[in-house]
Symmetry: D2
Subunit: 269 residues, 4 copies
Amino acid sequence: MLVGNGYGKSAVRLVTVRRGPEIHELKDVTVAIRLEGDFETAYTEGDNSRVLPTDTMKNTVYALAADHPLEDIESFGLLLTDHFFRDQVASARVELTEHLWDRLHPHAFRRAGGERRTAVVTRTRDGARVTAGIADLVVMKTAKSAFEGFPRDRYTTLAETSDRLLATSVTAEWTYGRLDIPFNDRWSEVRHRLLEVFVDHDSRSVQQTLYAMGAAALETADVEEIRLVMPNIHHIPVDLTRFGLENRNEVFVATSEPYGLIEATLRRG
Amino acid sequence: MLVGNGYGKSAVRLVTVRRGPEIHELKDVTVAIRLEGDFETAYTEGDNSRVLPTDTMKNTVYALAADHPLEDIESFGLLLTDHFFRDQVASARVELTEHLWDRLHPHAFRRAGGERRTAVVTRTRDGARVTAGIADLVVMKTAKSAFEGFPRDRYTTLAETSDRLLATSVTAEWTYGRLDIPFNDRWSEVRHRLLEVFVDHDSRSVQQTLYAMGAAALETADVEEIRLVMPNIHHIPVDLTRFGLENRNEVFVATSEPYGLIEATLRRG
Amino acid sequence: MLVGNGYGKSAVRLVTVRRGPEIHELKDVTVAIRLEGDFETAYTEGDNSRVLPTDTMKNTVYALAADHPLEDIESFGLLLTDHFFRDQVASARVELTEHLWDRLHPHAFRRAGGERRTAVVTRTRDGARVTAGIADLVVMKTAKSAFEGFPRDRYTTLAETSDRLLATSVTAEWTYGRLDIPFNDRWSEVRHRLLEVFVDHDSRSVQQTLYAMGAAALETADVEEIRLVMPNIHHIPVDLTRFGLENRNEVFVATSEPYGLIEATLRRG
Amino acid sequence: MLVGNGYGKSAVRLVTVRRGPEIHELKDVTVAIRLEGDFETAYTEGDNSRVLPTDTMKNTVYALAADHPLEDIESFGLLLTDHFFRDQVASARVELTEHLWDRLHPHAFRRAGGERRTAVVTRTRDGARVTAGIADLVVMKTAKSAFEGFPRDRYTTLAETSDRLLATSVTAEWTYGRLDIPFNDRWSEVRHRLLEVFVDHDSRSVQQTLYAMGAAALETADVEEIRLVMPNIHHIPVDLTRFGLENRNEVFVATSEPYGLIEATLRRG
């Protein structure tokens, strides 16, 4: 018995250049489209008569980008879900990942690095829902981070610390209560608040800092809910006493595994 | 307002060797632990008194592996969730990924490649639930795959084809109705059924083949539900007419992006 | 002053299917082409009149694959260098990486995993040279590996061990003295010898095992020289005494960094 | 017969924090060490008496970092090669990759992204040699890039273009003629010159732009030679006429494979 299904196209790579008289605007986006709905006979009988090819979905991304200047990924996602929500489709979901470029010159750019801007737009009979986000914003603070007062059991060997490095790769996703808003401004404001609190917060744990960041983000207009995922990327002080040296909290091993993983969802009010 | 939270340790890398008189048994597993429950004051007040360190979770994985020979990842996951489900924990979830090795010799092994065996064990007040799985089992068939009869709109350029390459990276996750079963046998049987149908099926679409594979897997004892995710990894016939040559369906460009993504969940009965 | 230059096309993804009456033969290859020669004015003056577009190189790979059944990557590399070695080209170099598939059925295959077969063919005025190879063949032995008797200085903390896990990802490249040989047979024989020695060798160090493997490979007909690169992928015994437990050399942390890196080149005679 | 050998430790992950009264200085470096020399009996006889463990090399990196503030990776590489060049070592080579962080605050940082700073220091009996570099600096220009006037053969299908996107991931390595120089200043100046020319150059080909960038870099004091590797990351205009639309050079498919690969070495004088 088929109890759920979905299909679509992933990793559609779109770059647009808007050529103004003075400067060029560059957008670099990866798009994924996913449709759910009444496609059951495609699965059970091999009936393709309702299965819009995923190749057509790809073409549609490029065709709509030609007709509608890409101002922000949220609006482009709304345009795409609008297009795909028809006939037997119960839910059209578009995920957009924007690869950020810094401007070097009116016609030249430098790839900004690991951080990406994300959006998920979902349209059902109940309307559209927009989630904006940030992925892989890697930050570190070298002061004001402690982890003390935790419980110990027979397997606990971790030392308490009042001054550790705190590094994380922030992934944030937040939902807007309205759709007619300046998406670029809102995104920049949420990002600014997240960074500001990360930097300033006197952290007793990743959990506490995450919560403070989320609470600050919720003060941005139209943001109703935010989910934050913050891995704890450990930097372990090297035991230099083995070499007759002292580690004045200055020399660390950066580790990639294992890592702590902390997440929470906060809602306004 | 905190409406959800979870934390744990990810990417704990465990290798065990059981040294029998004749042969050695090797297990190579990556473990992730995630706890949910009443941790609210850690977020809101920086109170760590209930926050078992993720470092302790890591130690626990190694300590329990020393005491309990690792026969299958499902049982080890049950052991771990049993350990972590206590006090303020409402849900203990353990994800295990087994990196497979082929035996070369009683004491030597070759890494089997991309395919991995997976398990997710979740324990709440209602008991434990075991999901087993396969990830990244990449397969291709060079016959008995078509895609025809699909709808066309103004953006459709795809040609119908009665004989294409069908390649995918199978990810499957299925749930057992009981916990006292031979997990290794069940896993092997599901895997065997999935491959058998993939090979034999006269495919009108990825959807149809996925459904047939899932239906076959559900015939395995104790399997109640299965979710399959099968990207369509496109191999595009090269247009050789531009060079005065014919392509007898023999020369293809392998592409990594974009790709179709098909998924469905089937339940027994 | 320009003292060296080269250009070409990388990551050309070619899949061919030879459709016999009974079974299909699948080849999955990534090709890179690199030309050196008298291209100086392209660099210094922007004169493109001698610069065969890399797009044409890509097309050529597909066109030649259509005309010549791909039996082994070495022969296909010779065909390609033959084609590109002309006019102002002083050196045509083709690198080929074959992604291996195991046969499931006359028309179906399973991706074999991380291990790949490689070849580099270089053609200059002095003729062609063929190097065959293996990349990322990951193997582990759980017995007959020690590391003792090494020098110690003030920074040495490593314990001597008479029984450790030895894991590595073998990369091998060997050169043939002739070009009219059965490349598939030779490749299989070298691979067999490398694995056989890895398994059987009573290892005092990665260096010693690497040397023994190389020496065995050189016994294969037509192999003149072999280079082996074998990272030491460390598996560290967990100190379980902290938990009141004993580690009977059974529980290990698999680590990805840092890793030892051992390499050597052996020549026949 | 052993005709070459080397061994060492790779992927040593070092982070240092220098805690000034006002601000913290962060360095995040990956180090690889490689020794060549008279290690033959280790290979042929399993004699480890001269084989300094790679684990000791790793410890040495942390110990020396504790004693010597890490000002620039070139100086730290010189310190390390100085340490390891002794006894039977004929060549000590240290590769350093610095992961760049932007400052957010006196005690907080943001990972700068894909671009990295690199250095290779090699010490032999003839003294030390320092190569500095940049890896994966991804840049794009949306004007002043053409590719025309190239030769055509039967496999050429590429259209000439007077206005294309030019995107590349610059890898540069340059050698200094002296060792007593301000490495940070030199590095910044070379990087500035490379970017400046990339942006301003009226490009007829990647080759020509690469050459102009290299020539500019060679004007930096003490730079004797520079090697540049610049993949041509293709952005292909979408044929929108199939959908009754026009592409005003504004909508592109970003591709990851295949890619052109252009490289050259320039020497001063």
